[in-house]
């Protein structure tokens, strides 16, 4: 097959992956996640476990050591035997705490300690870098197979250019689809779907090759078994060593949970724990299928290819040698898929850990005060930190590959990564099963394991230091694994027993071990004025839209309308967990405390929380639901009652206010008209007084117009003339009409004109009236210097439109936000400037008539209003009848 065709095919395949990822992200953003959430997609995404190490290296491994290669897949199979009670529970607890990585999980369990997370991130980075390098190497090696005709002298580091291009392309893919948003639950639909597709390609390629080898090159399974027996006869290396067998099964079982990329797909990307019911058997079946033909391919490669051919490349050279160019190309794509999917997921996982546990805490420490500053910058910082981390991981992987010149055997680097991450497992399992486990134990265990791994496994693997002197009957790798894991576990247990956990840690321990949701602690019963700073903070992390949606749904869950829920412990808990999903548990905890003023946790608080959690656990779901429902109803009733009381007071006040508003201009009119009757007035006075009478009667008329307008709108009898309109035109007209208000003030406009070209079907004049009113209000009341008016238009999901108009002034205090849409709400306002305070009340009624709404948006750094339009105004109930 010509090299150019290979490159072209490869590029087409890459384009397909970009397309699939893009389509899946798009589908997810439109809420169509049903097929994306299918257990099959989840199961296939788990196959990132089978990296290029499996795809190329397994055959090489089997050539050298026979059946021992299977340990790498048997370990995960045994772990998945316990999927129902083990992994499901891990996923449930991790989802409950919105865990973003394995480092985050352990840090959250041990008292939200960021230093522990930073240590685990360090291990992950050290362990994964050579592994990423290995994938790059395998891709460039496989290119070399096609580029050179010779089967034997393929340079290990020949394709440095290829590796660079691959690394760059993968970095681009990962940045585009891995850092799209700071989703609170850290799921990447595009990446996962592309990986699921790659998993299918990988499996198909390998099975096709296996079938070709067994039925095409050999003469069926019986012949194959004979050949295996023949091959084994000459190989002492094939005899299984029980110690290695056991150690490798343990380590690979640990790896399936602890490797950053596996934790990412197994736990973080899982929507819920139920899909493990399918993945529990389907993933072992995938591994089984990937392993079935490894030994036949190895044996056949040995028998048919020259003795000095690289066994790690048998899967490519076998079909190429037999003239099966298409099969070779398919296998090449399979290997390419294996390498790229591993690198992408690994990089995402590492980048999340690096940004959440290294860069963001560092930034917050440098900034000292996390609550001050530009509202947008944290979100931007986190995303950029992730992009930077992705580039860094990829670059370090490539540099490592260039610097070492490639390693001779693919197998060793994979095992180095496995054994490194396995050091995290005792702390993790201990943390999930044993309430007594604590942070000192975790530090001691992870630290001990890390040191031993560095000395016994990692440094020897890169040629620093040497294997310890051991009797020949003891296998050095098995020895190193046993020693490091045993001392790790021992240190973890001993230090846990003698250490003393702090209260936060005990609380988290309780939550993790009994898989219940303990509620956040502290003196939290505060007023709504504390909620708004929290909203401002959430907005900095998630962006305005997501933050508002979350706060609105939390308020709704409490039975309240609007955007500001009560500051209940439950709300704070949920907020902290969601924030943890974006920036890690430790940082989220610190940030909430900095705003909400987290109090020190006392032992009696702890006791109270513990008993509450225990009780909550015992309570049946039914009671829980009934209670929540009751509480919601009660809140709704209370709100309704408050409203009714306020309404009847308002009714009285309304009449008095109308009277006041009418009498005031009438007073001037009457007084001056009497004065005009007196004969001895100068002409100048006469003119002036006549003008006052004219102005005041105009004011009277306007007031009556407004009142009439309002009553028509309130009764729903308003005549609407519904036409198509362009929001951009309406906004332009509103801006020019409103500039008559306070014309001396020059506002800087912050708009996105292109996004404003949104067509709507509505009563354009009425909508214009609302826009003018809101913009004029901003011109009147915005007290910032220089004043800025920002306008944002978006299409809503259901085909309507949404206009946000915000200024940068001091906004409206929380207590008054509920009142501004009431009639005459500006009555005691010094700046009411001749208006009666009916403007926003009319706006509210207009929007109700148009089938939309206008609301005040709290926490936007100024007064902000959101105008929501439906796709088209509702047809009044009697309109249809009249037409009929």
């Amino acid at each position: 097959m010509p090299f150019e065709a290979l490159v072209a095919g490869c590029l087409a395949y890459v384009a397909l992956m970009f397309g699939v990822a893009f389509a899946a992200d798009r589908a997810a953003s439109r809420g169509r996640v049903r097929w994306l959430d299918h257990p099959a997609v989840y199961t296939l995404s788990l196959s990132v476990y089978c990296s290029a190490w499996t795809f190329y290296g397994a055959v090489g491994y089997a050539t050298r050591s026979g059946l021992e290669f299977a340990t790498i897949y048997l370990g995960p199979t045994i772990v998945f035997c316990g999927a129902w009670w083990g992994l499901r529970r891990l996923v449930r607890v991790a989802r409950m705490h919105h865990v973003t990585s394995i480092a985050d999980l352990i840090s959250a369990r041990f008292g939200k300690s960021n230093r522990l997370a930073a240590l685990i991130t360090l291990i992950a980075v050290i362990a994964a870098t050579p592994y990423v390098a290995l994938q790059l190497q395998s891709v460039s090696l496989s290119f070399e197979v096609f580029a050179t005709d010779s089967l034997t002298d393929i340079p290990l580091a020949g394709g440095g250019g290829t590796a660079l291009w691959v690394a760059a392309g993968l970095a681009l893919f990962t940045i585009v689809f891995g850092t799209r948003n700071l989703a609170a639950d850290e799921r990447h639909h595009g990446v996962v779907t592309a990986i699921a597709l790659e998993a299918v390609v990988k499996l198909m390629a390998f099975l096709a090759l296996g079938v070709f080898v067994v039925w095409g090159l050999a003469e069926g399974p019986a012949d194959m078994l004979d050949r295996i027996a023949q091959a084994a006869a000459g190989h002492d290396g094939w005899l299984l060593k029980p110690d290695r067998w056991t150690a490798l099964i343990v380590v690979s079982g640990a790896a399936i949970i602890a490797l950053p990329r596996m934790f990412q797909v197994l736990v973080v990307e899982a929507a819920d724990e139920d899909r493990l019911a399918v993945a529990g058997w389907a993933f072992p079946a995938y591994l089984f299928a990937m392993s079935l033909f490894v030994l036949p391919i190895a044996v056949m490669g040995q028998q048919l290819l020259p003795a000095d051919a690289n066994p790690d490349l048998y899967v490519l050279t076998l079909p190429a040698q037999s003239g099966q160019n298409w099969l070779a190309f398919l296998v090449f794509l399979g290997g390419f898929s294996a390498a790229t999917s591993m690198v992408v997921v690994c990089t995402i996982a590492l980048a999340t850990m690096i940004s959440n546990h290294w860069l963001v805490p560092l930034w917050l420490i440098l900034r000292r005060k996390p609550q001050t500053g530009d509202p947008e910058d944290l979100r931007g910082f986190v995303l950029n930190a992730r992009r930077l981390a992705i580039l860094a991981v990829m670059a370090v992987g490539w540099v490592y590959y260039r610097a070492t010149g490639g390693t001779a055997a693919l197998a060793s680097m994979g095992l180095v990564a496995f054994t490194g991450m396995a050091q995290v497992l005792p702390a993790m399992i201990g943390g999930l099963l044993w309430r007594g486990a604590n942070r000192q134990g975790a530090y001691a265990g992870v630290g001990t394991g890390f040191a031993l791994w560095l000395a016994l496994i990692f440094l020897p693997s890169v040629g620093i230091g040497q294997d310890p002197a051991l009797p020949p009957s003891v296998d050095p790798l098995a020895f190193a694994i046993c020693l490091s894991l045993a001392l790790n576990t021992l240190a973890f247990i001993v230090f846990s027993i003698f250490g003393m956990p702090d209260p936060v840690e005990r609380l988290q321990g309780l939550s993790f071990v009994s898989a219940v949701d303990p509620v956040r602690h502290g003196r939290m019963a505060r007023g709504a004025d504390q909620v708004e700073p929290l909203l401002v903070m959430a907005r900095r992390v998630w962006g305005a839209e997501d933050a508002l949606r979350f706060f609105q749904s939390e308020a709704a869950a409490q039975g309240k309308s609007g955007y500001l829920p009560d500051m209940t412990p439950r709300f704070l808990t949920r907020l902290e967990r969601r924030l943890a999903g974006s920036i890690g548990a430790a940082t989220a905890h610190a940030m909430i405390d900095s705003v909400a003023g987290g109090s020190e946790l006392t032992v009696s608080d702890l006791m109270q929380v513990a008993t509450e959690a225990q009780r909550a656990k015992e309570e049946t779901q039914r009671l829980e639901n009934a209670r929540a429902e009751l509480a919601r109803t009660a809140t709704q009733l209370r709100e309704a009652n408050d409203k009714l009381t306020a309404l009847s007071i308002q009714k009285d006040a309304f009449l008095g206010q109308i009277s006041h508003e009418l009498r005031t201009p009438m007073t001037s009119v009457r007084a001056f008209s009497e004065i005009l009757r007196s004969p001895d007035l100068s002409d100048a006075d006469r003119d002036r007084f006549a003008k006052i009478i004219y102005d005041e009667s105009g004011r009277l008329t306007r007031l009556l117009d407004d009142l009439l307008d309002l009553s028509v709108l309130e009764s729903g009898q308003a005549q609407l003339s519904i036409t198509p309109a362009n929001l951009h035109d309406l906004i332009e007209r509103a801006l020019s009409a409103a500039s008559a208000t306070q014309p001396q003030r020059v506002f800087r406009l912050d708009r996105e004109p292109l996004a404003e070209y949104v067509g709507v079907i509505t009563d354009a004049d009425r909508l214009l009236q609302v826009l003018i009113n809101v913009i004029s209000n901003a011109r009147k009341y915005c007290d910032a210097e220089p004043p800025v008016l920002s306008i944002r238009v978006r299409r809503t999901l259901r085909g309507g439109a949404q206009i946000d108009i915000a200024d940068n002034g001091s906004g409206i205090e929380t207590a008054r936000q509920a009142l501004i849409f009431e009639k005459f709400s500006r009555l005691n306002d010094p700046a009411r400037a001749g208006g009666a305070g009916l403007g926003l009340a009319i706006c509210k009624e207009i929007m109700a008539n148009l089938g939309g709404e206008i609301t005040y948006l709290p926490g936007q750094g100024g007064a902000a209003f959101r105008i929501v339009l439906p796709r088209r105004p509702p047809v009044p109930a009697d309109a249809g009848l009249r037409r009929a």
Binding site: S659, R663, T664, M666, T667, S668, A671
Partner: protein, 118 residues
């Protein structure tokens, strides 16, 4: 000494009252906000205060109550004419010496002020 201090936020009404009363020969000063109203009264020590009920920042009734509680007994006894736009319902303002509902006849205003100043 100042005859009349008027506290009224509606500029046109204030202008009308001032025009009517100064043509009668009285000296009229104006303060246009509830805030600072009591300080204006203390500073000017007028013979009569005309006070609007509904003022921005601080209502006329509050100003009246503070005036009546002032330590200086002569200041506390200053006669006060309240103007109200709330209609007949709110004419019962016991601390005021007289109450006039808006809109008023100019003659009523003149007569009432004359009676209170003499």
């Amino acid at each position: 000494m100042l005859d009349i201090l008027m506290i009224e936020d509606e500029p046109n009404i204030a202008e009308a009252v001032r025009f009517i009363l100064s043509r009668e020969g009285w000296q009229v000063a104006l303060h246009a906000d509830g805030a600072g109203g009591i300080e204006a009264i203390r500073g000017a020590k007028p013979r009569l205060v005309i006070l609007d009920v509904m003022l921005p920042h601080r209502s006329g009734t509050e100003i009246l109550a503070e005036l009546r509680g002032d330590q200086d007994p002569s200041l506390a006894a200053t006669p006060v004419l309240m103007l109200t736009a709330r209609g007949q319902a709110s004419l019962s303002l016991p601390q005021a010496d007289a109450v006039l509902a808006k809109p008023f006849a100019n003659d009523d205003l003149r007569a009432m002020v004359r009676r209170m100043l003499n």
